[in-house]
Symmetry: C2
Subunit: 322 residues, 2 copies
């Protein structure tokens, strides 16, 4: 717990303590051996943990500190969104190199706490340590959903439609340009620097009993669709022409299809819906697009504009190769 740290880190803790208010569900936060959370009646608890490591998930040369703080938390909130859950509390374990400027840490915390604030969730604890090399953040988000109602990956059935929120490939296209040595700012690609976890959409899909299975697109459509198929014991057929691609200035139009198919970190939702179930074209302002359907067997195929069918291999997303 944060209270058990070396004296040298007291300034950071004081800063965090000041930033943290008592909020929904948090009975005791920083300053005890454990945080104490109150979960709504007849709810189950959702827990997700995500490492964000310098060099693997971000680079200080490429990303402003507040973007890094935002992105660390967005990964966890997106996992809660993918279950249709409500986020309750955040825990941050942060290892920092000795020579890191306090200003950087302040900006990192500002980016994280601004996003937490937006979703009404508080920082309820964590741990800090000195890092031997680079910034290491492990984010835990605790949320809840009514008993038995969290949307799993395993609920897709043959005949279900396959849907995505928003547009895909924007975050990966930005990353590609960063690799190529281009300087990018948040204005060029807000989705890369400040991704918006789809918590409200996920909650709506759960409350309206729309989604049979759901996952967030953190590793890329091809990989995350494979996860749904594997857990549900089904196959899938995707129509290439129906995949909503991001527009991106740097490319002078829509991003390349490879980014939409395999690029990670869009944090959109991928979900399945029973045949005949009605759903709106937009949820909370976010476009909902049908991209295919669930099939028998275990094969995931993609059909191009000329009706040509090929296997869609999960190519994963390697984040940064550095």
């Amino acid at each position: 717990m944060i209270a058990d740290m070396p004296m040298g880190e007291k300034a950071l803790i004081k800063r965090i303590r000041r930033a943290v208010g008592a909020r929904r569900g948090v009975v005791a936060g920083i300053g005890d051996d454990c945080a104490v959370l109150r979960v709504p009646l007849r709810h189950e608890v959702l827990v997700t943990t995500d490492f964000s490591l310098e060099g693997t998930h971000f680079r200080r040369e490429w990303h402003p500190a507040d973007s890094i703080g935002h992105r660390c938390l967005a990964r966890g909130l997106s996992d809660i969104a993918a279950m249709g859950g409500i986020p309750l509390a955040v825990f941050l374990s942060l290892a920092l190199p000795r020579n890191l400027p306090q200003k950087w840490v302040g900006e990192f915390m500002r980016g994280m706490l601004r996003l937490a604030e937006e979703f009404g969730v508080s920082l309820a604890g964590g741990d800090t340590a000195e890092s031997p090399s680079g910034v290491l953040a492990d984010i835990v988000v605790v949320g809840s959903a009514p008993k038995g109602k969290a949307i799993r990956r395993s609920g897709a059935r043959v005949g279900d439609g396959i849907y995505v929120t928003g547009v895909l490939g924007g975050a990966a296209a930005a990353l590609d340009l960063l690799y190529a040595g281009r300087k990018l700012s948040a204005r060029d690609s807000p989705r890369h620097f400040y991704p918006e976890p789809r918590v409200r959409v996920g909650k709506y899909l759960r409350e309206k009993k729309i989604a049979t299975a759901m996952i967030d697109i953190s590793d890329g459509l091809s990989t995350d669709l494979a996860h749904i198929c594997e857990e549900s014991g089904v196959g899938a057929e995707v129509n290439e022409g129906m995949i909503p691609r991001a527009e991106f200035r740097g490319y002078g139009g829509l991003v390349d299809m490879k980014f939409a198919l395999h690029g990670g970190e869009d944090y959109e939702l991928l979900f399945t819906v029973a045949r005949g179930k009605k759903l709106p074209e937009r949820i909370g302002g976010i476009a909902i697009t049908k991209i295919g359907r669930i099939t028998r067997g275990k094969r995931v195929t993609i059909v191009d504009g000329r009706g040509k069918r090929r296997k869609l291999y999960p190519q994963g997303w390697e984040h940064f190769k550095g």
Copy 2:
């Protein structure tokens, strides 16, 4: 979540998946965006996170891999114990250097899962990544306690007795010898290599309404007592002669008082008890020793055998200086 990792780590995940059984409270574990936990009716949720970093908290040259796995988890379970809680599920975020032998990872997991098994708690998720330098583990333990009954640090009142479980200083004395270049094995200091979190004692103290405030001794008696005093707004007086010191072969008798006062990682419990409240000499086989009392003001003093009084400064515990 563990399911979202690069393919190269699949072997580790399969190993973990096999090792994990469905257990108390875990509805969904590895293989979804979040773990889903069921918390006992009218219980609150306890959450604690602890970083264990190579070089700071352990060294591969000093500690067998299974001891490191054990120690990582013991830190979290001990935080649950300090609230009088019941552990429900464990989450492990693990970053490993590229060249680490699979055998080491297997032994690390074995040590962790053996301790989890002992406390009937399962590994319900986590994350893995490649570490730029050394082994980094972040452990999250989720537990529960009946609503409003978790034992806080803030409940100590003037006149309460101050108590500790077990004996103190053994883990730090072992560390001191390791620093001095001595080879030690688990037989020399089981408390250092395989500390036993006092979950059963903590639960007993909560159920019998014995403890008014509690903390685990992870940073050393002087520091952790200061935490209780700070959170409760009280002072304390400790009798040096009453502090139960560990016996340790390497020292040919009782460990030096400095280790018992300031040495961390014993994971014993420090708690306060209202005047006149009866409590047993042992709980579940663990000795309970009164070492002082809570006083007015904010000063923490220690009285030696000749009645001489001095201030007890929280000296913290620096773990490894390397």
